[in-house]
């Protein structure tokens, strides 16, 4: 019975985190982006500096009509948002927040593979949406999504493998247990490659060619309205949380910090994740969108070689240490 209670409690916590963190990231994006552009951002909803803007948005989405285009493949069209969103929920289950029993992330032995595999499934949602909408722009968006995923999955995997090599385990907890501070400079190239590839996989600017609104409206999500559209947006922001959490766990040492080791480990994890989320927003504000060919070029001619070099470096250092 204790097991079942544990599982339900854990699911509940993850669900709450899943619902709140993406909203926090979204609100931060509103405000940070606005101030980086010399604006104020939302100021009215909720009274104090528009803190309830995303809640208001959610209410608005819920009120909207749920339209399915006549030519669309109804069932797949309606299923796609769930396919896009659920994997991130699953991944959140596996990310360790702090050391010890209380935190999630104990269940999975091959943690890295679990996380990367399930994140890859999420992209299927975009593909399904792109195809089932019966819309040229959606189809183009789906195509670009697929091409981008194929290009960026590889460097992401390779850099994750580099960390796994360094730690000698593929379990996320095991990696954190083995973490030493000097891994930071050792794996820095891998960290950057992983982060950039993850951004590309999430289709965040500057890698948002699949949803480039100025040329293909909103890519695969063009035909979506109301709650289903909101689910796609939620998936994007949940993806940011997951990516930042993963980068934190894999490359930045998760709950390890200069002080406050016992009991406050989760604060470090959350802090590092928040800083990374800020960087995600910062990058979005700063850089213009990459063209499709530049996207592919960046991955195949820069990220993949860099990640291979990182693996070589990891291997050499590992052998030298032993």
């Amino acid at each position: 019975m204790n097991d079942a209670l544990d599982v339900t409690l854990r699911l509940l916590i993850v669900f709450v985190v899943f619902l709140s963190f993406p909203l926090i990231v979204g609100q931060t994006e509103h405000k940070v982006m606005a101030h980086m552009q010399g604006r104020l951002g939302p100021m009215y909803a909720g009274g104090f500096h528009g803190w309830a803007q995303l809640v208001a948005d959610g209410v608005k989405f819920a009120q909207k009509e749920d339209v399915v285009p006549a030519g669309a493949d109804r069932r797949i069209f309606q299923l796609a948002p769930a396919v896009a969103l659920l994997p991130y929920l699953l991944v959140l289950l596996a990310i360790p927040i702090g050391p010890g029993e209380g935190a999630a992330g104990q269940v999975v032995d091959a943690g890295i593979f679990f996380v990367l595999a399930v994140m890859g499934v999420g992209v299927l949602g975009s593909l399904m949406a792109g195809w089932a909408s019966a819309n040229k722009f959606s189809l183009l968006g789906g195509l670009r999504t697929a091409a981008q995923l194929l290009a960026y999955e590889l460097p992401m995997l390779l850099t994750a493998a580099s960390v796994a090599m360094a730690a000698g385990t593929v379990s996320l907890i095991g990696i954190l247990d083995a973490f030493e501070w000097w891994w930071l400079p050792w794996q820095i190239v891998g960290a950057i490659v992983f982060f950039v590839a993850g951004l590309a996989e999430l289709q965040r600017p500057p890698f948002d060619m699949p949803v480039a609104d100025s040329e293909i409206i909103f890519g695969a999500y063009t035909e979506y309205t109301g709650l289903r559209f909101a689910l796609f947006l939620l998936a994007e922001y949940a993806g940011i949380v997951v990516l930042c959490g993963l980068t934190t766990v894999l490359f930045l040492g998760g709950w390890h910090g200069p002080w406050g080791a016992d009991g406050l480990g989760w604060v470090w994890t959350l802090l590092k994740t928040a800083v990374l989320a800020f960087i995600v927003i910062w990058l979005r504000v700063t850089y213009p969108r990459l063209r499709e060919d530049q996207l592919q070029k960046l991955s195949w001619t820069l990220l993949v070689p860099l990640s291979l070099a990182q693996i070589a470096l990891t291997g050499i250092v590992k052998v030298v240490i032993q």
Binding site: D3, A4, V7, G71, A72, D73, I76, L86, L90, L93, V107, V108, D109, A110, F113, F114, L116, A117, V118, G120, V121, V123, L124, L127, M128, G130, W131, A132, A134, L139, G142, L143, A146, A147, L149, L150, E153, L157, T169, V170, S171, K297, T301
Partner: protein, 225 residues
């Protein structure tokens, strides 16, 4: 689906300890789950090859491959399960869908999706399946996987057996894949060179565009480096 399986496994664990000795008559929870998932996988696979909607076929393939991953998971081969999801669902099916979208992306039934020699295909499929089943059954016979002990398919165990007992096939496969990779690069580069030559030939006929096109392509390749 995988979540359900994980939870199911957690819930089923105490039951399997109670089951005691292996036997077909008193199936444990894991065995029941295994059978059910197997049925789902089989059904999805059948739909994959019988449906006339091409993209639906690809998506049913996702279900079938996911079901396989769950089966691996139920047999405690966690690493294999996630790799299955990562490679097949995450990459192969995406590639498949990419190909479909790039070419036709038909919505609705494709009447020409049926092949005329379906009976031959069926025969081959049944023969292959029979051979596989026979080989597997013959190889393992009455081997029982003890699900309650230390996981037999954890990453550590899988890695150890892969690099101790099966290192030669592994290396052979690696070389094969490498050869395929090099071959693909050679083919694509040859095609590129051909197209570049034809482009140069056509642009040479027109005078001014040639001068414009040349530095352009050069800067492009420089950017690539």
């Amino acid at each position: 689906m995988t979540l359900a399986a994980t939870v199911g496994r957690l819930a089923a664990d105490p039951m399997s300890t109670a089951a005691g000795s292996p036997g077909f008559l008193s199936p444990t929870g894991v065995e029941i789950a295994f059978l059910l998932v197997g049925l789902v996988t089989f059904g999805a696979a059948v739909v994959t090859v019988t449906t006339r909607q091409l993209v639906h076929a690809a998506l049913w393939l996702v279900v079938a491959l996911g079901g396989l991953a769950v089966e691996y998971l139920l047999l405690t081969a966690e690493f294999i399960a996630w790799v299955q999801v990562l490679i097949y669902v995450g990459s192969v099916v995406v590639l498949l869908l990419f190909g479909l979208m790039l070419t036709r992306a038909p919505i609705g039934r494709s009447p020409d999706a049926d092949s005329g020699n379906r009976w031959a295909a069926l025969t081959v499929a049944v023969a292959a399946a029979a051979a596989l089943v026979w080989v597997v059954v013959d190889a393992f016979r009455t081997t029982w996987i003890d699900l309650d002990g230390p996981a037999a398919g954890s990453t550590r165990v899988t890695g150890a057996s892969l690099f101790q007992n099966w290192v030669l096939p592994f290396e052979a496969l690696s070389v094969l894949l490498l050869a395929a990779l090099v071959g693909a690069i050679v083919l694509s580069r040859k095609a590129k060179a051909d197209s570049a030559r034809t482009a140069r030939a056509t642009s040479a006929e027109r005078d001014t565009p040639a001068a414009l096109a040349e530095p352009d392509t050069r800067s492009d390749t420089e950017g690539a480096r």
